[in-house]
């Protein structure tokens, strides 16, 4: 079972991100999954989060108190949710929007998703980049399921743009993983 919390502010497509991840797991990877979302006290804007659980067994209680994976796309969200992340959990952030503070030993996996999106000419697409990144970094959902779900979830005519955004995120993740492996092995080498 994997418990993923994706957070940010209204308008960043946080819920859609969660929906694609959860849907990819359910319909693509044929696992069980649930998505619940929550908004802050305000009607719109403000903090916003999506909680996704992916599991091989039926999920009864769909709420997450201590996520395995926390994705933060805003500082406010980071400040609010970081304390809930498990000790063994994975922290993913948008590099330019979040400055991690008070880290309790988690490695910070960051991607400048919003910046890349800006470069692609569409700020709104940062969340798709993030999905790509999550896919490669966490392996919570398969590449096939993820990319297929992105394709079927975006407006007609924008598939190409979105897939290329997805790929950017995915590859950024792969590269990071490689680097991390190297680094990790490097450390090990040094250690031995």
């Amino acid at each position: 079972m994997q418990e993923i919390v994706i957070t940010g502010f209204g308008g960043q497509g946080i819920v859609l991100t969660g929906r694609i991840v959860a849907k990819a797991a359910a319909l693509g990877d044929r696992k069980q999954s649930t998505l619940v979302q929550s908004y802050g006290p305000e009607a719109r804007g403000g903090a916003c989060s999506a909680q996704v659980i992916i599991s091989d067994k039926a999920i009864h209680y769909p709420y997450i108190t201590t996520p395995d994976i926390l994705v933060c796309m805003s500082q406010g969200a980071y400040d609010k949710f970081y304390p809930t992340l498990r000790e063994t959990g994975t922290l993913i952030i948008d590099h330019d929007l979040v400055k991690p503070k008070k880290l309790k030993g988690h490695e910070v996996l960051s991607i400048p998703a919003t910046r890349i999106a800006g470069e692609l000419g569409k700020k709104m697409i940062a969340n798709i980049i993030m999905i790509g990144f999550i896919t490669s970094i966490t392996g919570a959902i398969s590449l096939k399921a993820s990319i297929g779900t992105v394709k079927s979830s975006v407006p007609k005519g924008t598939e190409e743009l979105n897939i290329s955004a997805f790929n950017k995120g995915y590859e950024y993740g792969l590269a990071l993983l490689k680097g991390r492996k190297k680094k990790a092995s490097g450390y090990r080498e040094a250690g031995t």
Partner: protein, 284 residues
């Protein structure tokens, strides 16, 4: 830079619950502007603010009651007017102002509106008409233009909207005006007049709801304001029956009705306790 400065205190702060700011209204939402005009009008009217109460229903516009630093009530959906009527009749010394949305006042609350107007209860009713139910995410309202897209009319609204000033007039309102939030000065003046008016007065304030309405109808807030600017036709005294809102041909704005009539309480007092109240009746 002597001609500008950063600041912490706004001249309207004394009228605002600053501990609740920022308010919930979206960037580009017109409710805040109408609210600001309202506060200025309140201040300029010179009425006794301690004896002034603001009543709202439910909706984004209805949140206004939560931000004004006066006695203020956020009631149930559609019921601001009868709630306000109870206040006014129980204590006639109070200035009672209803500030709410088009859905609240004219969908679920339509009956209370026409009856309060008929009775000429001495209330000021300010309606933020953003052509939709903003709070619930942008469904069609009784004010939504024909063919406009909303979450419940994905291919376009098949209904026609009310002409609110006409409805107000037909119901008996003694003061009726319409402005857009862009016409902030006229709006402020109108609200001031309405507040000082003895009798049921009604102001329709057009305002953008970019989140609920604009987004689906491909209107950025500034574009909406541009339409307000370009299509505005100011016609004070226009026949309310002809004061349609037509985003292509023109939006008729102005003060349409301003007549004298004894209020509900004036008449009640004159019939039911003529001795006690001769002065009040004179004032009508």
């Amino acid at each position: 830079m002597k001609n500008s400065s950063l600041s912490n205190k706004h001249p309207l702060d004394e009228l605002i619950r600053t501990d609740r700011i920022p308010h919930i209204w979206c960037p580009g939402c017109g409710v805040g502007t109408v609210f600001s005009s309202f506060l200025i009008a309140l201040r300029e009217s010179g009425i006794d603010l301690k004896n002034t109460v603001v009543v709202s229903g439910i909706g984004c516009s209805g949140r206004a009651a939560g931000y004004v630093k006066l006695d203020s009530f956020h009631t149930t959906h559609g019921r601001a007017i009868p709630f306000a009527t109870g206040i006014k009749l129980a204590n006639p010394d109070l200035n009672v102002i209803v500030f709410s949305g088009d859905g609240d006042l004219f969908a679920i609350g339509g009956n209370h509106f026409i009856h309060a107007a008929r009775r000429n209860v001495d209330l000021t009713v300010i309606c933020v008409n953003n052509f939709t139910y903003g709070m619930t995410g942008g469904q069609a309202a009784a004010t939504t233009p024909s063919m406009a897209k909303t979450t419940t009319t994905p291919k376009g609204n098949s209904e026609s909207p009310f002409n609110l000033p006409h409805l107000a007039y037909a119901s008996g309102a003694t003061y009726v005006a319409r402005w857009t939030m862009l016409h902030a000065r006229d709006l402020t003046e109108a609200i001031k007049e309405a507040i000082l008016k003895r009798g049921f007065s009604f102001i329709e304030a057009l305002a953008p709801c970019p989140t609920g309405y604009g987004r689906r109808n491909k209107e950025q807030p500034l574009q909406t304001l541009k339409i307000y600017q370009e299509k505005a036709i100011i016609k004070n005294g226009a026949n309310p029956a002809e004061a349609d809102i037509d985003f292509n041909k023109g939006i008729i704005l102005g003060k349409f009705i301003d007549i004298k009539k004894p209020t509900w309480l004036d008449t009640y007092n004159s019939i039911y306790r003529p001795q006690d109240n001769s002065d009040i009746i004179d004032a009508a």
